[in-house]
């Protein structure tokens, strides 16, 4: 069966510090991968999605970046965090079936 994991689950970082959130998918190959952000517990904002290794589409201009170094690995990064980067980050995958599978989420607090 397919599983998705993302970490860390909780992160508290000072403004200006770097960020790295990781997501891995098991049990499937060539998944479509997504990073979403959810602020204030409502609304899913798509940040990045990827249909293959090295193929990243950015939906929102910001100080975040994403990379897909391996087929089932998706990384969200920032060189310098802003207060506005605080939120609940969700990784997800699908295989063109129309069903998105989400990870457990990573809660980021920038102080």
């Amino acid at each position: 069966s397919q599983t998705i994991h993302q970490w860390p689950a909780t992160l508290v970082q000072p403004v200006g510090s770097p960020l790295s959130l990781e997501c891995t998918v098991e049990g499937t190959s060539n998944p479509n991968l997504y990073w979403y952000r959810q602020a204030a517990g409502r609304g899913l904002q798509l940040l990045f999605y990827s249909v293959g290794i090295g193929q990243i589409s950015s939906e929102v201009p910001q100080n975040l970046s994403a990379s897909r170094p391996q087929d089932r690995q998706f990384i969200l990064s920032s060189k310098k965090l802003l207060l506005s980067d605080s939120g609940f980050y969700l990784c997800a995958w699908d295989s063109y079936t129309g069903e998105l599978f989400f990870g457990e989420g990573s809660r980021l607090t920038v102080l």
């Binding site: 798509l46 609940f88 129309g98 599978f101």
Partner: protein, 113 residues
């Protein structure tokens, strides 16, 4: 680009049927409609998906009229554990790099005893 609109919140009581409607006036020919459930501090979970008419599974039904400009998620006999946020998602999952998945802002359902 399809924009989705759904009520911000709804209240219900245990044992009642709950219907949540999502409007998507500009839905494209290849778009499907999918509903998700989200509990606090968890990722959304798939409930049901449809293209037109009616779809039913073990937890919900989805009603889509012929013009597909709206859809209604129906939860039969809700319980306290159905208290959650429900999202409507419209999009074409087969569009590859050009896919646009449009999420509603979510409907917060509160089920009361």
């Amino acid at each position: 680009l399809a924009k989705t609109t759904q009520p911000i919140s709804m209240d219900s009581y245990e044992g009642q049927e709950v219907n949540i409607t999502c409007s998507h006036n500009n839905i494209a020919t290849n778009d499907y409609i999918t509903w998700y459930q989200q509990f606090p501090s968890q990722g959304p979970r798939f409930i049901i998906q449809g293209y037109k008419t009616k779809v039913t599974n073990e937890v919900a039904s989805l009603f889509i009229p012929a013009d597909r400009k709206s859809s209604t998620l129906s939860l039969p006999r809700v319980s306290l554990s159905d208290t959650a946020v429900y999202y409507c998602l419209v999009g074409d999952f087969n569009a590859g790099n050009n896919r646009k998945l449009i999420w509603g802002l979510g409907t917060s359902l509160a089920v009361n005893p």
